[in-house]
Subunit: 138 residues, 2 copies
DNA sequence: ATCAGTGCAAAAGCTTTGCAGCGGT
DNA sequence: ACCGCTGCAAAGCTTTTGCACTGAT
């Protein structure tokens, strides 16, 4: 089992293990966010002895190192994870096919500006979730 | 035990019970959203035999009748409930005191307009969650 | 009297944790 | 050889469900 992310992991001060390399690879290949179970199911087919709790611990570790971002969409009650690209993470969720479409360019500044005009709240971050129908479902 | 919401409940086609009147009263008196457990703890002090599962069933029923709205904020993993006032429900969460401030006037149109300019997604609803520091914590 | 509503207990679903053994450095 | 990582099993937490009894109409 080769470990393509060995340097990346040691640079973050954490050990390079087979499981971590597999999960990092899966995270890189995904086009959207995934739940711990999604990742687990994919990882099992590559490395059958892997355990769900290892995935959870790993994702939590990656999160603490800012390698992945965590989110939760209101419908699912499941935490979703994806690589941190240092951009805001907002999503459009299709109400029919349930697919999640990451939204890279969010008009954040419009929101923050408008909100700050009528409230005494110091905004540090925000989450936006958009629901509707995707191009193929509408 | 008087039942101030009897007419309201029968108008929605559901029976007026002591427990439902208590919870409706609690919902009216709150200034923000509350979890099922929050409501349960308040209800128990007024009606000790009440059960958490009754609260959940009631809130789900109220939700199906559009009497309450459900939401979940990303930090908590708990569903929060509040009376439906037919306005969008967005929240500002203080990162220090954890209090939740409902945001009545959201610049929704700005978001929807900007998003529709660069995506082929038919927007039906959206959720906005703002994190930062409230006036007394910042 | 009927049948929806309730309390209780158990289960379900997602996530976390304790512990002993394994594996990377 | 050390100590962090992992697998396994059990527990934790929120929410749901089955069932028999209660209470509103």
């Amino acid at each position: 089992m080769d470990k393509p992310y060995k340097e990346f992991l040691t640079a973050h001060g954490i050990k390079s293990t087979t499981q971590r390399n597999i999960v990092l690879d899966l995270l890189h290949e995904m086009d959207g966010p995934a739940s711990a179970e999604d990742l687990y199911l994919k990882a099992v087919s590559l490395y059958p002895s892997v355990n769900l709790s290892t995935i959870y611990r790993m994702l939590e570790l990656f999160h603490s190192k800012n390698i992945v971002v965590k989110n939760m969409l209101s419908e699912s009650k499941k935490t979703i994870y994806e690589l941190n690209t240092d951009t805001h993470k907002h999503y459009m969720v299709c109400m029919k096919c349930k697919r999640i479409f990451p939204l890279e360019h969010c008009p954040c500044f419009l929101i923050e500006k408008a909100v700050s005009e009528y409230s005494d709240f110091e905004i540090r971050d925000h989450k936006l979730e958009i629901m509707g129908y995707c191009a193929s479902c509408k």
